[in-house]
């Protein structure tokens, strides 16, 4: 359970979980939403896999991540977002938007 709390403590990882709530996504597609390097994203994915909140499915050369959260874990994610940490998450989204603008 401490792995779950550790995974949910980081705003980037919470945002990854929120994105995966819409459906499975490739590692590259997920990384495009954040202004961080690929190795950093990979480390975030590893933490989430270690906490058993997501699972990786290798399809050819691509890695597809899918959500693997229980109801309680989703509720914890919701609480973490609700209690004042939403701002940090918004900041992550803003920086991702800036990153996309830089790329294009």
């Amino acid at each position: 359970m401490s792995n779950v709390f550790k995974a949910l403590a980081d705003p980037t990882r919470r945002r990854v979980l929120q994105l995966l709530q819409k459906g499975p996504m490739g590692a590259g597609d997920l990384a495009d939403h954040f202004d961080v390097s690929k190795p950093t994203m990979s480390a975030h994915f590893s933490v989430l896999v270690a906490a058993d909140l997501i699972e990786a499915d290798k399809q050819g050369r691509a890695i597809i991540y899918r959500l693997k959260m229980s109801v309680l874990e989703e509720a914890l994610l919701g609480f973490t977002q609700a209690f004042g940490l939403q701002l940090t998450s918004n900041r992550t989204a803003t920086s991702a938007a800036k990153a996309k603008a830089k790329k294009s």
Binding site: K22, P24, R66, M69, V71, E73
Partner: protein, 137 residues
Amino acid sequence: MTNANESQRSPFSIAHALIVAALLIGGSLTLVLLTPDVISRDLARRLLGVMLGAFVVYYANTVPKVLPPLVRGNAAAEQSMRRFTAWSIALGGLGYMAAWAFAPLEDANLIAVTCLGGALIVVGARGFQFRSRRHHP
């Protein structure tokens, strides 16, 4: 080996189901033995209802985590269906528990069954919609 260990730990494994069944029977027997000397018949009924609701919540909680994803089909829609099912039944189970814990005893059964039954009907309707969309996209 890892897969074998994981399947043994899964709440949907036979070993796990037998443990849960033993706990349910053991809990019910304990309540029967304690009634009416230690606890009243009414309290025993309430405790049994709360226990059954707790097991429903426990199983619903783990549905999206332990069931393997379907190989074919729309993965996003399937995940959405799973999450909806788990949340609905977990909330229905919580309602079942709350009804047995707090509602007047004469109404508790009706309220509890309405909560859980309502959740199951909603899940069934969504499942029917999900299936028909898969066959007629």
